[in-house]
Amino acid sequence: MVVLNKKAFKLPRVEKEKFILLLRLGLEYDREQGSFCISSYNNIERLLDTISSILNDEKVMFLQNCILCGRDFPCSDCKYYDLCSTKNLPFHCVCTQCLKEGRAYEDSDK
């Protein structure tokens, strides 16, 4: 399993067609840093499958960011993992700790 940071991550060198496909699916390439970041989430599932195929079919996952406390955490910690339709995708969520503490949504403004 490969854990990626949605803000910037590096991939092995790929052939031209694959690189174009990655950009079409919503990645952005930083030429100076040599890293990718996600610019569009419209085709995120296909994007993940393509990245996975580049990484020799390794399972790809992104860390989640808690909207209440700002902590990064993996989806595997979540008890709703099997029910989630967007698991491992690079989206915001609420971490187990904040759920346990009973924090409500408005707390995120503070």
Binding site: S40, R46, Y80, A104
Partner: protein
Amino acid sequence: MKDDFLWVEKYRPKKIAEVVGNEEAKATFVEWLKNKRHTKKAVLLYGPPGVGKTALVNAASNEFGFRIIEMNASDTRTEKAINKVAGPATSFVALDKFSTESKGNLLFLDEVDGIAGNEDRGGVSAIVKIVEESRVPVIMAANDPDLEKLRPLKKVCALIRFQQVRIPLIIAMLRRICIMQHVEAEFEALERIAQNSRGDVRSAINDLQSLAEEKRVLTLQDTMMLSSRNRDISMYETLKGFFSAKSLAEASTLLSRSSVDYDDLLLSVSDNLPLRYTDSRELAEAYDLVSKADVFRGRIGTENWHLLKYFFNCLAQAAAVAPQSCKSFELISPPIRIITLFWTKGKRTALATICAKIGARCHVSRETAKHDFVPFVKIMLEKQKSNPINSWLKLELEEVDYLVKMGKF
């Protein structure tokens, strides 16, 4: 105490930050709205119902001081009606734009996928025209952007996808409402409402109101009467699930739950079969089953829906020819045929124009012109580009070039 308002209205987000979930889509939308030099003049927000598309537009207009001019599914949306409402709103800059409080108008067309074929005739093309000429932001919302009728709209819009809202986010939001309504809710009760909503915030709030209104305490026991909701699945999910199904029953159930267009599904399955089966005998068997499914699709037409189970069954059998050899692969979607038609549209239009000119001059149909005249005109032009036949047929220079460079028919 019983509320006079629906909680979905009472707790409708006033600020962008109050819209639950889809943070990435929210950020993209706000960036688009703030940027006056958009590459696309309109934006299409799409995703399942109840995930905050309309709420985000309302909250953003409230926060940035836009006045919304809205047309939704309850309005008649013919070309005439759209031009009557949206035309003036988008072509003139309102005077109040120059005040400090208002930024002017914003046109919001909700549920554009609900524009009906006959009742709303010309609706989509009228919207496209308005988008091209508009001087104010145009925002549209739809559940299913893959509909054939929305293709012209997608070309002129920036697309922003909304996903189902995650369960922990819904729980946190329900907890906030409970605090405001002075309801003491058990965590398990909120958890069950959130799970049952399947990512639909609106239905979660409605469920909470129906269960917790006029109560001080909400327990898990109270939620037992909630009925489960079904959700449609998209083409990509359908194909992914279909090709990784371990059994006939699994593939069949998935197909019956999916809401994709059956003709597109058939083409997509056909395109992806060679990637799924590497053994030629298995591939032949799978294609045989797909051809049978195609026969049933033809017989179903628009009325014999009782045959749909046979269509599903044949397709499911095609997926389960060799379930043990299943290996993940990169899916081809949308169907190659549709992509090819899209890419060759310009060429086909050019050829149709040439055939129409030849047909009119030679008193034959366009089809006859295409098959019996164009090959000979091409040979004549290849030998001499400035052939007098050009002026006689009134062909443009680009059309002559097209004919000369054209491959086989």
